[in-house]
Symmetry: C2
């Protein structure tokens, strides 16, 4: 490529209703542009302390080891596995979507064995199957599962799964990438031991950071490892020298200063609204979207009892080219919704209502745009019904 | 900590003349705040292609595998090692500062053996010592060294070291975190095989991204591994499905969208100035700073012949409390300079003139502030001489 004519990149204005990133709050964008200061500056260190306290609030925990990993959610996942898993270990992994499969990859790359507990994509993890696996593998030391499967929109019962794990002396690794801030995540109450999330979903921040929290049990296991953590960058024994409790921070890696400003602002906004209010808002806007989608004749792939309000996976009507619909939505309405992943590719759309993007204006805009595009493509829907149905629920 | 009273974080305005982050160009800060779009958006994909081309320009390479890793420089280092090293391998690591030691950590955490070639901190890597090691270890497959040691300010002869490595059938891993954009980095001409850098030094971007480039030889070795890369997040075989050459990108992890806007802008600015002009500017401002520091009576720890213009390590005068000086500079002048690291802790200051921060205003400001603080502390310097000396060189 000839670089001569490359100039500043000015992105289009989108409405982001896919599986993340979601629309970013203007206050967070403004925070990203504040002047950079040093990663060991005393003022920055004060900001880090606030950030830790705000993350503890979001995670519902008093865990001392609560920090943002300096990389996206996938690195947060890897942080949990490389620190808690040692070669030769046995880890029970519950899979009901794409991200359980990624957990298996992580376990195996740590030189450990993954015992897979499989559930149909779009359903929740079955506690009975987990208990069977725990009974069959008394030498397992860890249970890993996804609380909110971004690939399907199904939420599992984290409390019950953690209780079972602890009954069989296992610690737990839990993926809350899509749930944190959108639906309840009660780290301490549910007994989750290692929890990771992402900045770009219900926290409405820009992508690139991964909040994590570790229980005292988990921290103790990390400290007592008899092998080194295979990743230097993600080794919490080293990272904690920088993010630790004292004012005397020692250099590990250079923290992503401006993205951390953004995450701080995102968490201040969450605190101002209040966690419970945020959860209620996500539920309210989901119900309005659902009324509209159902009035059009579209159906959800996840049963109501474990459906995530912030990630709505709906079946593509027979005969409709799902990619063409997304393309029209992007081109004509500058609206992004998500495609299916893995075994659901081509079969579903994933409509996100996450964080700042979970508002009634987005609900109405998405329904109107979808109605227009599907009608123009002569898809088998009840055209013109969606927005009125949503309005009835919203009002 | 009680979170009730936590509000938006408004950082102070600093002048950043430490070892990085350096002052960020206002255009880059503005780019960070542009509206977030999806990481699979066609407009974003176009931006990624531009970014790759601009990185090729900065690295002096035609390597297809040239991308920014979605995490800080330490993760870029780890990307090179985990992809190129397999368990049981032997890697020759040249160490002349902190970051060679980190390379050793990386090698060992990959299950390989590090053969250390040690040089005094503050000197360049000695090619003769490398050749001796290559002769003694004909089974080594890789040579790793730091081109520009951020901990000391010494630059090594990358071209000669790479030639030697190739003579003995080794590939090379080279750290250019502090050199890229500030002094010549000629990836293809010098035959460097795996090169990593950071966004927050001479590119003047915010910290958090790590540009990397791999030669065809290195890419072929990664593709022909007989073990999986131990990091899922950093596995280039997977990352390339997202950053690869085709318009059909597949999801690996969610890219840090806004920081990538920032890096794109940083590279556009570099292209507008021109690499050669940027190198000349770094040299010019270094000479002015040097004249001022020497007029004060301060001396450099690195010999002129391999001294980095962008990272000036100077000896702390006898009897001076180096930490107190940095604290006064920060409090009274909002000016950050760096402390010594590792074996140089307490003995040197590291004064950065990197990227946007490499300008005559910063040179004069730093000299004036240092003169004021050292004079007030009755340090043994020639007070009042610095700025005039710098001015003579600059004009």
């Amino acid at each position: 490529m000839d670089i001569t004519n490359i100039t500043s990149f000015v992105p289009p204005i989108r409405t982001l209703m896919g599986p993340g990133p979601s629309d970013v709050h203007p206050r967070i964008l403004a925070a990203m542009a504040r002047p950079t200061i040093g990663h060991l500056d005393p003022r920055f260190v004060d900001m880090m302390d606030e950030l830790k306290a705000l993350l503890q609030y979001a995670f519902g925990t008093n865990n001392e080891l609560t920090i943002p990993v300096s990389a996206p959610g996938s690195a947060g996942m890897e942080t949990c596995f490389v620190n808690l898993v040692q070669p030769g270990d046995k880890v029970i992994v519950c899979q009901n979507g794409v991200f359980g499969g990624r957990m298996k990859e992580n376990v195996e790359r740590c030189g450990a064995t993954a015992i897979m507990v499989e559930d149909t994509w779009g359903t929740a993890v079955d506690p009975q199957k987990l208990e069977d696996a725990l009974k069959s593998h008394p030498d397992a030391g860890l249970v890993a599962f996804v609380h909110a499967e971004t690939s399907t929109g199904a939420q599992s019962d984290a409390k019950t799964l953690c209780q079972l794990a602890h009954q069989y002396d296992c610690l737990t690794i839990v993926d809350t990438v899509t749930s944190l801030g959108g639906t309840p995540v009660r780290t301490d109450e549910w007994g989750m031991d290692a929890v990771y999330s992402g900045s770009q979903k219900c926290l409405s921040c820009t992508p690139g950071l991964s909040p994590v929290t570790f229980s005292e049990r988990a921290a103790a296991r990390i400290k007592s490892r008899n092998t080194k953590v295979q990743s230097w960058f993600l080794d919490l024994n080293l990272v904690m020298a920088y993010w630790g409790g004292s004012q005397k921070r020692s250099y590990h890696h250079t923290a992503p200063v401006n993205p951390l400003y953004g995450l701080h602002e995102a968490l201040v906004i969450l605190k101002e609204e209040g966690l419970e209010n945020s959860w209620a808002r996500h539920q309210r806007n989901h119900l309005a979207l659902r009324a509209g989608l159902e009035a059009m004749g579209l159906s959800f792939i996840v049963h109501e009892s474990y459906r995530l309000p912030q990630l709505n996976a709906v079946t593509v009507p027979t005969g409709v080219d799902e990619a063409a619909v997304r393309q029209r939505l992007l081109q004509d309405f500058s609206l992004e919704i998500g495609a299916g992943l893995g075994s659901l590719a081509g079969k579903v759309w994933r409509i996100g209502l996450m964080g700042y993007a979970s508002n009634i204006k987005n609900v109405m805009y998405c329904l109107g745009a979808l109605d227009t595009v599907l009608s123009a493509m002569k898809a088998p829907i009840n055209a013109g019904q969606a927005m009125a149905a949503a309005q009835r629920v919203a009002s």
